[in-house]
Structure formats: structure tokens, C-alpha cells
Symmetry: C2
Subunit: 127 residues, 2 copies
DNA sequence: ATTAGTACTATACTTTTGTATACTAGAATA
DNA sequence: TATTCTAGTATACAAAAGTATAGTACTAAT
């Protein structure tokens, strides 16, 4: 469907495929940083609360978790549901877009594994 | 092939699919930052020199370009070829792993575009 | 009145990433 | 001898990302 090479024809680089560039930078922004993927990962098996996220994700501070959740919500990846109980209950769930990331994450894993075998072929230090 | 959901079975999160996690973080690291993709993009149509990269990529400073090229080389995404001429000629080219990123980049573009249509459905500000 | 549970926020700090501007080295050319 | 070419490096600074640690607001139970 979309061929990235198009993006890179010398003539086209600057002018043309704005929507591709935007889509790509959107995607990068969504996954950007140390904590986004672990959070998305934790959400893939359903709704989950703040404290549980904090327990699931090793070494994340409440500050970072809070900040990242806000960004993910703003970007339309997760939804924040408030239940008016006492003590208040808040749950985070993935939106459709968030769920759709699964395929992309799989592609990333595939590339990463392929890359490791390539790298070993070129006798690259394996950790 | 690789199902990311596996990664997220509560029981497995911490212990099991280390190779998946490693592969995924490898991939994130490779694309990470402001300049990696533009550089990879510029390299997709063949070998290119430092100064040409600097001209191709808007506003990149030689310091950042140099730093990013080193990282990409270390990560096995590009190769640096030195020709012993005067003045010295140095060319950068993608490795096989680097070329293989095309498919992944396409997946990212696809997700980004899908996400934009989803976002518009939920009346999210477009830009 | 005190303690505990939920979901965070505040403050100060360190580290990483990025910017601005100038400079270097080695050899050929004018 | 001075300038030009390629491919960067050096230094100082600013901004963004992340860490550490403590504290807040609300309510319910003890």
C-alpha cells in the first residue's frame, strides 16, 4: 500500500508525501520514550488501575506513570475511566487505535529478531 | 509468528519472552530520537556522503549528524566506507538490516494513517 | 483521632538530547 | 604562502526526559 521508498525520491523528499511523514512521526511519538511500550503492553490484557501498572512496570515512578498516561490519553491510545466510588476507582483501557498497535509491535519484534541474526552473522557482540 | 499478547500474560511478563523484549527494545533504540529516521530515509536511495546528508536533512547540526551516524553504525544499520583519496571520501550505506527496515517503516505509516482516521472519528483535533 | 487505601502532585535533582558557533587536520590547488 | 576541499571535533550552553523522595486530597474503617 504505502511504499516508503517513494518518500525518498530526491525530488519528493521535501514536498510531497506529507501525510506519510505525519503518519510516521505520529507513530514514533506514540511509542517514544522509556515507558510507553511497557504501559501499552500492560494494557493489552484489559483494563488496569494505576497502582497495578506501577507494580507491573519495574522501577517506574508515579510521576512518570502519571505523565505517560496523560500523553497516551491525549494521543488517543488509552482511555481513562473514573468510577465514582469510595475510594475512587480509576481504570485505564486501550482504545481501538491502541489495540491496533499489536500488529506493529509484532513487526518490530520480527525486525529486531531478524536484525539480531544478521548482526550475529557479522560477528557483532551479542550483549 | 510472534504474538505480542504472549508477552503480556500476567504470569509471563517478568520471566519468559526475553528475546521478544530484547528484539523490541533493539528496534525502538534503532529508531529512537529526532534524526534516525531522516537519516535512514536519506540512505534508502543509496550511498551518500556527510555533507550531502547535512544538506538533505533540514536543520541538523554536524555534531548531531556525526553522533547519530556513529550510533547507527554501532547498531549495524549503516556502514561507513572510507576511500583513501585526497580529499578523503567517506560514504555511508545501509546494511541489509538497514534495508529491511523499509517494511517496518511502512507498517508504522499504515498504523499512523489508520490512527488518524480513528482519531477523526472521535473528533480529535487533526494537527 | 488515627491509620489506611486510591490516585496521584510537588520539588529538586541528574542525565540525555539537542543547539550554536567556532575550530581542526591533511593534502591539493592557486 | 594562503586558500579550498572533505569530514568532521571542541566547547559551552539550553531544553527535555527521567529519578528520588516526600506530600496531598478524599473517604472509610478502627
Amino acid at each position: 500500500m504505502s511504499d516508503f521508498k517513494e518518500l525518498l525520491d530526491r525530488d519528493k523528499v521535501q514536498q510531497c508525501p506529507r501525510h506519510y511523514v505525519l503518519a510516521l512521526t505520529d507513530t514514533l511519538n506514540v511509542m517514544n520514550g522509556k515507558w510507553k511500550l511497557p504501559i501499552i503492553a500492560s494494557l493489552l490484557h484489559g483494563k488496569i488501575r494505576f497502582k497495578d501498572l506501577q507494580n507491573n512496570i519495574d522501577k517506574i515512578t508515579p510521576r512518570m506513570l502519571s505523565k505517560e498516561l496523560k500523553e497516551l490519553e491525549l494521543n488517543g491510545i488509552i482511555e481513562r475511566k473514573v468510577y465514582n466510588q469510595t475510594p475512587v476507582l480509576i481504570e485505564y483501557i486501550l482504545t481501538e487505535s491502541g489495540k491496533n498497535l499489536t500488529g506493529l509491535i509484532d513487526s518490530m519484534i520480527d525486525w529486531g529478531m531478524l536484525h539480531r541474526t544478521e548482526a550475529i552473522k557479522s560477528s557483532w557482540p551479542n550483549d
